[in-house]
């Protein structure tokens, strides 16, 4: 029974709040609830006070209801026929203005979502693992090269993206309006309105009765750029770019030092020229004027050099190439560029455009320069307009291409896309159309992978920022020589292994110089290759079908 206690103002409290032992049974028993009962004459107990569970619960429920209703009343994102995910702001800005023309032509609405790179790839990866979320999967998505490895762990038939080989082989026929159209040697085109195929012999179009098909997208895109998006011969993405690699350098400072950097054909000559450059400036009170931006500990630049030599740490057949003698040679050489008495490189700080500030200040006088970096240099270092020049990469061996490749993006169609054919047409519109190219040029100068687009004036004209040099013509010239960069789920781990060896090499170079370094690197690399092999064996399925 509730106990009552009187209050001075006439009210009383019924307060049996605690469980009480029943002397007869020895068990605890629940007592009646506590109510503050106001017995002031003329007043009745408030109905709120009589609500079960008490006021706090009512408040919580009220708040939950209000917030719930508010959320429900928020305008829902508009339903669209196609959902397209991109991670780069410049890509979003490129595509948005040209979506209406696609929507009008196709009669389908498109929603473009800009999602941070890591979030996008993680979300998509989780969706691919969870079939129950397939309704949320976009109809097309761009993936950055550093993130794509994770998608390629399952066997090709279970990769979350749709194979594109057939679409690339059967669509995008090359057509010419007449035989005076520009072309390059080896191109095959259909004369518009006819079924005849013409082949370009380097000077003119010649009818080719032996061919029945013109070039399709597959033939029109730089072949090596399919490599990062391919697993076991199945292509899962369309490349957005080529990203050939050059070196940009401060021509004014190198000229003043009496060094002709562009004349260096090999990396050894380049190294020697940079040392001369640094000596000159050290003697004039510039101890922190470094010849080139190179990362001291991260293997990213080293990987670019290995690519130039045709080496991927892990290839598309899961063979490991860390023990290749060329790798040891390159690591030892690279360690000499970033450490020890013959060091020529220093690192720029992270953050967008900070490297450009270092170039402008004359702290770093040359840069590895893929096409995507040009925009940042222009934007963040306007003060050096006219002072930069660009040169192809020096070579290690005469057979090496004078370039490599840095970065990349693909667009793929998830298997759960609602209308894959419409997604494909959207990709064609955004990536390959004239309108798509013009839109791209409003945001970036990134060279498209479609070779005939390189004849656009934007890619052929002189660039005042580079002292009138035709830098994009140079990129276009190098683009066809870009090495194949392969990406597997083990790529990130293999880079970690390279990082371990590079740091040992750099450490040894600092302590003891370069003597015996290459042999030491070889040993370390063999050990790391063994470890990598062990990991791949551990990840492989018993039936042997599963790649790492």
């Amino acid at each position: 029974m509730p106990q009552r206690s009187g209050l001075p103002d006439g009210r009383h409290v019924e307060s049996p709040a605690l469980p009480r032992a029943d002397p007869s049974s020895g068990h605890h028993q629940w007592l009646e609830p506590v109510w503050l009962v106001d017995n002031t004459p003329g007043l009745h107990p408030s109905p709120v006070n009589r609500i079960p569970l008490g006021k706090p619960v009512i408040v919580v429920i009220a708040i939950a209801l209000i917030t719930g209703i508010t959320v429900l009343m928020q305008p829902r994102p508009q339903h669209a026929d196609l959902e397209f995910w991109v991670f780069a702001d410049s890509h979003a800005k490129t595509f948005r203005p040209i979506l209406p023309s696609f929507e009008q032509h196709e009669g389908k609405s498109v929603r473009l979502s800009l999602i941070a790179n890591r979030a996008l790839s993680l979300r998509l990866f989780s969706m691919f693992l969870s079939k129950s979320m397939s309704r949320e999967v976009p109809d097309a998505a761009e993936i950055e090269i550093g993130s794509v490895g994770r998608f390629f762990r399952p066997p090709p038939d279970q990769v979350g993206f749709l194979p594109l080989n057939d679409l690339l082989r059967t669509t995008g026929a090359r057509e010419i309006a007449d035989v005076s159209a520009p072309g390059l040697r080896g191109w095959n085109a259909r004369l518009r309105g006819t079924t005849r195929i013409w082949t370009h012999d380097g000077t003119a179009w010649v009818e080719n009765p032996a061919r029945t098909q013109p070039d399709m997208w597959m033939d029109r895109i730089v072949a090596s750029r399919f490599a990062p998006w391919t697993k076991a011969g199945v292509i899962f993405g369309v490349p957005h770019d080529v990203h050939p690699l050059t070196i940009a350098y401060r021509e004014d400072l190198f000229r003043e030092a009496g060094v002709d950097l562009a004349a260096c054909a090999t990396w050894i000559e380049f190294h020697a020229a940079c040392l001369r450059f640094q000596q000159y400036w050290r003697g004039r009170g510039f101890p922190h004027r470094h010849a080139i931006e190179l990362q001291e500990a991260s293997p990213e630049t080293l990987v670019l050099m290995l690519l130039q030599r045709g080496i991927n740490a892990v290839d598309d057949s899961d063979r490991i190439h860390l023990a290749d003698p060329k790798v040891a040679e390159t690591v030892a050489f690279y360690a000499g560029l970033v450490a020890g008495p013959r060091k020529i490189g220093s690192e720029a700080a992270g953050g967008m455009g900070v490297f450009a500030k270092d170039v402008e200040a004359g702290n770093l006088c040359a840069l590895l320069m893929p096409d995507w970096r040009v925009r940042y240099v222009r934007e963040f270092a306007p003060g050096i307009a006219g002072k930069l020049r660009m040169m192809p990469l020096p070579r290690f061996d005469p057979g090496d291409p004078p370039t490599s490749t840095w970065g990349g993006t693909m667009v793929g169609i998830p298997r759960a896309a609602r209308d894959p054919e419409a997604s494909w047409r959207l990709i064609e519109h955004l990536y390959f159309s004239e309108e798509g190219l013009n839109a791209r040029l409003t945001q970036t100068n990134i060279l498209p992978p479609l070779m005939e687009q390189w004849t656009h004036p934007a890619f052929t004209e002189a660039d005042p920022y580079f002292g009138g040099q035709k830098v994009f013509a140079l990129y276009a010239e190098l683009a066809t020589q870009v090495p194949r960069r392969l990406v597997t789920p083990m790529t990130s781990i293999s880079a970690q292994k390279l990082s371990v060896v590079l740091n040992r090499a750099v450490d040894q170079m600092r302590r003891r110089g370069g003597e015996g370094l290459e042999a030491a690197c070889r040993e370390w690399l063999v050990a790391e290759a063994r470890d990598l092999e062990n990991r791949m064996r551990h990840r492989r399925f018993d039936d042997g079908e599963e790649a790492p």
């Binding site: 693992l129 490895g149 998608f151 066997p155 220093s346 990130s492």
Partner: protein
């Protein structure tokens, strides 16, 4: 009415705990059980799963990257805690003193760093630690002979110190607030009694203050230790990966790499359970030591 109240009494506790139980079941227990299953399998995509028993755990023991991550995490934990706890306590003692002007401002200022997230701090320190341009390097260049070229994020030996520096900036104020509350709860009469007994400042600190704030000290140690074992975002954003020579690779980062970058969820789960065992072992050891200390 009586029946209604009896029913309510019987159901109310269950109703109150129901939301937690449902959420716990859905988002904790089921994933936990699932991760045990995953740890015993090789996985590949949504369709391929192969039972491998304890193979994943066996592999963990011979995985040099995992042990590198463990070593980094332990080094971080020890260095971080051995600076964070004294620094927080020192600040708290300073700001507990009546002789410091603007105490409220400084209390807020030191605590405010904790209000920003790990990712923000990582981005901030990327700029602060930049060679040549970063504020920290500029200060170092101005007052030491090292110059402004220290490559904090590129040199293996400086990688962990960079993380610790950022983590301290983030969390010293957090510890300080707890210590302040604990200091204010120490009975002033004990200080007066110690004064009467002729105790000096150090004696008072050792024999009155430290025993008085001991529960908070232990709490901060435990929480700091568990937080350190879970370190992920700060180095991940700061270095955009495992850092030079994997020196910023932590156990959770390695777990993330294995699970979400190389797509091996089975192995990632095994690493997760190894982490659980490590945290459990250290926590039990710490609790036992504390108990033994108390008994003494």
């Amino acid at each position: 009415m009586n029946t209604l109240w009896r029913l309510q009494h019987r159901l109310a506790p269950y109703l109150f705990v129901l939301p937690f139980v449902v959420l716990f079941l859905c988002f904790m227990l089921v994933p936990l059980c699932r991760s045990v299953v995953l740890a015993l399998h090789k996985t590949s995509g949504p369709g391929a799963m192969q039972f491998v028993g304890l193979d994943n755990f066996e592999f963990v023991f011979q995985d040099d990257l995992f042990w590198r991550a463990v070593r980094n995490t332990l080094t971080y934990t020890v260095c971080f805690l051995s600076i964070q706890i004294p620094a927080s306590l020192g600040l708290a003692l300073l700001l507990n003193s009546r002789f410091v002007r603007g105490r409220d401002f400084f209390r807020y200022a030191f605590f405010s760093t904790h209000l920003v997230g790990n990712v923000f701090v990582a981005v901030l320190f990327m700029l602060l630690l930049a060679p040549r341009h970063g504020l920290i390097n500029r200060v170092i260049g101005a007052v030491t002979p090292f110059g402004t070229e220290l490559n904090w994020l590129g040199k293996p030996d400086l990688a962990l110190p960079a993380v610790i520096l950022a983590a301290l900036w983030l969390s010293v104020g957090f510890g300080m607030i707890y210590f302040l509350a604990a200091l204010q709860a120490v009975d002033q009469e004990l200080y007066e009694a110690a004064q009467v007994d002729g105790a000096g400042a150090m004696s008072k600190f050792w024999h009155v203050t430290l025993p008085g704030i001991r529960p908070v000290l232990l709490f901060l140690l435990l929480v700091g230790m568990i937080g350190s074992f879970q370190l992920f975002e700060l180095p991940y954003v700061l270095f955009q990966g495992p850092g030079p020579d994997n020196r910023a690779l932590t156990v959770v980062m390695y777990l993330f790499q294995q699970g979400f970058e190389t797509g091996d969820l089975g192995y990632a789960s095994a690493i997760g359970w190894m982490l659980v065992l490590m945290v459990l072992a250290v926590s039990i050891a710490q609790i036992r030591l504390t108990r033994a200390d108390r008994t003494d």
